[in-house]
Symmetry: C2
Subunit: 460 residues, 2 copies
């Protein structure tokens, strides 16, 4: 428990104007975009440098206080919710681009910079950081590193972990380390980078990130294709990926998601299962791929195959896809969304989609399904009216059934949202004995258990 | 020290015919392709299953015996040399393809399978595992996983770590874990996969590997281009990569390497600094890239730009490149080669190449330079006649100077060969405080220090 003297001491470390125990501040950092019960920290600290982060973490270490980094707050699994109170490190004021090394296709940033803001700056130099999280206007690079986030473009470009070259990290006792290299590849020692990426603030607090960048594509093309059934749509995904197509995105939306999208985004898409497909490349390569995709779609009795002919149309369509969750949310005012994020091997994707739909029908629940089909990553949103007795528990059970089915067919409980609070219960089943190794590492790096406690590991 | 009762006990675990203390066997596993002093194990064990590996490791654990996995023996840094004796686990009989999941672009293999053998099998299905180590006819998947190996194709396709989806690992006490998922991406818990890949057998013994695969390209094109100077050649590399070309290989060979290659491979390449460039893709995309490359080469006063017009020529040229180290070796019979493997950010590659050449001249040493230019990965071979007093030490000093310069300009001491014995002395400088974290992890996972002792970490 934090006491007045702690608040004063923290004020001495970062300036008292950067420390708050006001209820409004505590409440603003008590829950992310997930459906869990909010829990406030005892105190919010806004650091502005690695040195300040180090000083605050050291204070937490010496005084056995929980300390939880928070950046965009757009996560979906309760990842930065301070469920044990303590200090919340609000990282979002540390949002500078420290160095853009165009010549090496690298950028060094602070963790609080927002994904879209970073790409806006990089775009001026013809560069971008590809993993494209859904909430790109809120999600920060620090949050993406913590959760190993990705999104629509992972199918071509990979996930955040594939782009992190170097990290500055404050460890549990306040020690500052730099790990990684500016070289594009290395075989030097243990891969600490990979370990910190996706550790959700439980092993250290990231204060600087060096990212590898990619040149903007010469051309972008987008297609919307509608199908009679989900089976035909998933068939196209499977044939495309296994046939060697290289889309920069291949997204699926079920009928209900298309309906919500039409309604909220003022579109008039045909209300059947739909694929959004995007290609990056040069003109010749894209034309060849578009033609191949059209053939595959025709083989699957495509109802409609429409290429976005203008940049405006393309952007409008992709915004609609990106806003799918928002559209669903707005279509059910006052309802709670229980989000799923399963990811399965490609050949099991159709099975996974069918399972979700059958389950919704069988259980009489509204469950939307959409996602990054090319990676086998399916998002679900179960709609819950908390005022209806039992519906919340019912939807939670259904979401758990989806995860369990996913694990049964060789998938993972989370493709890109991380474990946070929401997936802890599946860790033992998913990882078996290797969960003990994760615990061993957690204990070795954070012996007092002060860093974002209660996350990833099922509480004992 | 191993005693007779140990040998008998090991025989009971794996069958006495699979245990040997014969001098010839010990000598055959006493040194890899590096220049270090051979050191024999006390006993060689050839396991044939995960269960046997587990039993042998548990025996080592209970009896405090060093245990070192060995597969292809083609490493270049002494990575599997049993410098503290003990048990050598010869993994190369475990070389089966356990499951090819074509539909998911995945294969499950045992660690002893040779890279070329695996790709020969995969090729029949139109698939391949891209990282292309130089010694692909000897290197095993297990060794590649241990050292996070790569090679010529990493510039387009990435390194071994990027392809490992799942591992079965025997831990220090004999416990068997499976880590990773069959899904293409995951954000579930700590990245143990990344940690085991590149840990050189110091954290566990890998007994099964699930790899992500890639479809074979529709077309391959190759170009050889010669230049007046190394500066012009490195200029082409820089302009190509920063200009967005996407070669599947872009290799540099200095004049001396070309001379050795001509001589040993019966070629008549122009004896000046040379680039070998390869493209994978569809016809249209490749043609566009070839044209762009030609323009860049012309801007750098290219002396010769030749496209391999037949598959035979292309394969002959690439074999010549792959055999560069072998050619150098054969050009200096009886000499020792001291190999370097530095990797620097792209903008520093020209500087690195110049440094090596100036150093060779200044020091009066023969130092060949060639490598994976598109990744900034430069290999050097310093030629040493051990009978010439002081030459060995002189060449070692020069190789150390190359690494130190590399670290000074933001590079890594090893791009793809791993640390082994050869790069241990640079770990403190390269990693600083994060080396302590690596030590903490080593200690947590292998508290008795029995797994491949003496590697990666400078001995205290």
């Amino acid at each position: 428990m934090i006491i007045d003297s702690d608040v004063r001491a923290l004020g001495e470390l970062v300036g008292s104007e950067n420390v708050s125990t006001r209820v409004a501040d505590l409440e603003a950092h008590a829950i992310d975009e997930s459906w869990f019960k909010p829990h406030p920290a005892d105190v919010i600290v806004w650091p502005s440098s690695t040195e300040q982060v180090s000083a605050v973490v050291r204070y937490a270490y010496e005084n056995d206080l929980p300390i939880v980094p928070w950046s965009g707050g757009s996560s979906l699994e309760g990842n930065p919710v301070p469920i044990h109170g303590g200090i919340l490190l609000a990282m979002y004021r540390m949002k500078s681009i420290l160095e853009l090394r165009e010549q090496d296709l690298q950028v060094v940033v602070q963790p609080g910079i927002i994904y879209d803001d970073l790409n806006a700056q990089l775009g001026k130099k013809g560069l971008f950081f590809p993993p494209a999280p859904g909430s790109s206007d809120v999600a920060t690079i620090g949050g993406m590193v913590s959760n190993n986030s990705s999104g629509m473009r992972a199918v071509k470009y990979g996930v955040t972990r594939n782009y992190v070259l170097k990290l500055r990290v404050v460890l549990a006792d306040g020690t500052v380390i730099t790990t990684g290299s500016n070289a594009k590849k290395t075989a030097s020692g243990y891969d600490l980078l990979g370990l910190f990426v996706g550790s959700e603030g439980t092993l250290g607090v990231v204060t600087e990130v060096t990212l590898r960048l990619v040149g903007l594509p010469e051309k972008i093309a987008a297609v919307v294709a509608s199908f009679e059934s989900l089976r035909e749509a998933t068939g196209v995904v499977y044939d495309s990926i296994s046939g060697g197509l290289d889309p920069s995105a291949i997204e699926i939306l079920d009928t209900a998601t298309i309906q919500a999208t039409n309604q909220q985004q003022k579109l008039s898409l045909r209300e059947t299962p739909t694929l959004f497909v995007e290609f990056h490349g040069n003109e010749a390569a894209i034309d060849e791929q578009l033609e191949y995709l059209r053939e595959i779609c025709e083989d699957h009795a495509c109802l409609n195959f429409e290429q976005a002919t203008t940049t405006d149309t393309r952007i409008k369509l992709w915004t609609a896809r990106k806003e799918a969750r928002e559209s669903i949310k707005n279509a059910h005012p006052g309802a709670t969304l229980i989000s799923g994020d399963v990811c399965v091997p490609m050949s099991k994707f159709a099975d996974m989609v069918d399972f979700v739909h059958d389950l919704g029908e069988k259980e009489g629940l509204i469950i939307y399904a959409f996602g990054h089909a090319g990676d086998g990553n399916l998002h679900t949103e179960a709609i819950v009216h908390r005022e209806v007795s039992g519906e919340y528990e019912h939807a939670l059970e259904a979401t758990a059934a989806i995860v369990n089915h996913c694990l049964e067919i060789g998938g993972t409980s989370t493709g890109e949202h991380g474990v946070g609070l929401g997936k802890r219960q599946f860790m033992q089943r998913e990882h078996g004995a290797s969960l003990d190794i994760m615990r061993t590492i957690k204990k070795a790096l954070d012996p007092k258990g002060i860093l974002n406690p209660g996350k990833i590991f099922p509480e004992e």
